[in-house]
Symmetry: C2
Subunit: 367 residues, 2 copies
């Protein structure tokens, strides 16, 4: 088992990574301080892992469960309200601990519920998808979507612990494994060129779920994210580099309707747009671009936006993004492979051409 | 104008108290750091004060407004969702500042919206009721009710500034002035015996809205609350003393249905129950009890619970209170007049008799 600590002063917490560790009760015992536990999961994950977790924890705690519908479409204030109702019906008080058992949607909503139930209760993440293991399990972002924008409602809230069981990846659809790999590759692009090189060599073993290598990839991704988050917990500055590809990606997700493109797929296409724009600005070589495209492709990820979108769609949807400061569009771009910058200082003509060329290329692909 | 600072490290903020200061633009300018402002208010307050505030701030900022229905019955997740929709429709970003113009319900909901819009934006309180001026403007509690319990959903979130204009009390219904006075008297009871003495002398002038005296009362109440909150921002310990009368009071409010008894009225009756129980335990003299009852009465407040309730109602409703730790009922009681304690160490027979006697006395009052 690998362990790392996210250093956030009094809000520091451990991340455990290993095969089968969701059954290690001592990891939970260390993080639970009351008598009540509420496991929040969804209809897909519940049949796989819920009973075993309830049995294990019921030895020591009063365990209740809340099973949500599965999917980004249900990441809403209404579903969040359901978690609150479950907690109140089970008469859980301020000493309860909420366990998020599932992917990013479950983690975001259960975390937001933990942040706001009786103004804050304890929270443990047990992420079961690669995306949530390398992304949402570090950084304390919790929340829900609004019909007018993704992740517009939420709070920063840190868990007591994150328990990453790599065995849960064996039940993950391959499409979602790819989506998670988009974020893993992103860490290489923004802050770790050596990790990017390693990923190029190991991508086939990773896609085949070699347990040691996937644990390494998760560990290095979490370390990368934890380093950035520790420097900027509330996303005032450098933390924004974690959003490489996300401003473009959110536009794709919003236009296509939540859930039609997986988040990681939209991030992959968005990262390629950001890499392409960085190349147009003279920051990257053509080889950097082709290596990036090849790596995302090797992970079975899209490298172009959907052909049905237009430049105007991108512009309209990117203005609502949280990274827009008083109207000027700020983007995460690369200064070199392995080094990201946040800037609003890019030629708008490059931005336009980057998207127009990508959309044209996308139209030429037989659908 | 009186000023005090709530000392909370990097989350410290000023409270300004004075007649007419809602029209002092410089107080707002100091606290607003972006270009966008969203004023959240309700249908009762909007006709009185909204236009003037919009005109004043529109000189420097892009001002949007959100007018909520008035009343505790609307302090819900749905109404909170409306604020989020208003913010998104007006395309407000992370640099926006939310101004709560109204009483405690507006402040709690606007504050919760500020705490959670895009994971946290700036927030200014302009409380227009005595209750919100002396209570909810200090301490950072924000949130909404759930059908199964009051204030069960929310966050701790501090404003950039609180601007208390005592002139707004002139438009307040007298019943609500009394309700606010319940909290003022509470501060005397829990931590400031000299203030309690002063209130006994000045209660008639205060009820007549003598501007200097009401400013003093608000200032001393805010100082008392700020002292307690500074010691315990997240309500882990001593802060609970601020809830004198509230555990009883919440039971009354919940049983009667939100809004039928004003919060302050329920707190007054609840404080008298807590004072009575403290006397039964030998902590107070009979004179302490009669002085307390007389002061609440002089502020036109109820000193007995509603006759239609039973001991069983109280017990059932008090178990759901946030101050119940793993099942044992903890109450705020007085150790002496001006000194509160939090304890679960009281004879249950005293608790029962205290409520039964009060309910019997209440039944004898012609309704």
């Amino acid at each position: 088992m690998r362990t790392l600590t996210v250093e956030l002063g009094e809000r520091s917490y451990p991340i455990y990574i290993g095969g089968g560790i969701r059954q290690q009760k001592d990891l939970f015992d260390q993080a639970i301080h009351g008598k009540q536990v509420m496991i929040v999961t969804n209809e897909t994950i519940a049949p796989l892992y819920l009973d075993a977790m309830v049995s294990m924890l019921a030895e020591s705690y009063q365990v209740a469960t809340c099973i949500l519908p599965d999917g980004e479409a249900f990441k809403t204030l209404e579903t969040y309200g359901q978690i609150m109702t479950s907690l109140l019906e089970a008469k859980h008080n301020r000493t309860t601990t909420i366990i998020a058992l599932g992917g990013g949607v479950v983690g975001d909503m259960a975390g937001y519920a933990a942040a706001t139930y009786q103004r804050g209760v304890a929270f443990i993440q047990v992420p079961t998808t690669l995306l949530s293991q390398v992304d949402s399990s570090v950084g304390g972002k919790t929340g829900v979507n609004h019909p007018l924008g993704k992740n517009m409602i939420g709070a920063f809230y840190q868990p007591q612990a994150v328990i990453i069981d790599t065995h849960t990846l064996s039940t993950l659809p391959v499409k979602e494994l790819s989506a998670g790999m988009a974020e893993v590759i992103k860490y290489g692009l923004i802050c770790d060129a050596a990790f990017f090189d390693w990923l190029e060599q190991e991508i086939d073993a990773l896609m085949a779920l070699d347990n040691d290598k996937i644990s390494d990839a998760i560990y290095r991704s979490c370390v990368a994210k934890a380093d950035v988050v520790a420097q900027d917990e509330r996303e005032g500055g450098i933390r924004a580099i974690l959003n490489l590809g996300h401003t473009f990606g959110h536009a794709i997700e919003t236009h296509m309707g939540y859930g039609n493109w997986l988040h990681g797929e939209a991030v992959a296409a968005g990262c390629v747009l950001a890499v392409d724009l960085s190349w147009r600005m003279g920051n990257l070589t053509e080889q950097d671009v082709s290596r990036s495209v090849a790596l995302f492709k090797a992970a079975n990820l899209p490298v172009l936006p959907p052909a049905e979108m237009t430049l105007e769609h991108f512009k309209a949807l990117m203005v609502l993004d949280k990274k827009v400061l008083d109207g000027s569009l700020r983007l995460v771009l690369l200064d070199s492979l392995g080094d990201a910058i946040v800037t609003s200082d890019f030629p708008m003509s490059d931005f336009d051409e980057c998207i127009i060329d990508a959309l044209e290329a996308s139209e030429k692909i037989p659908s």
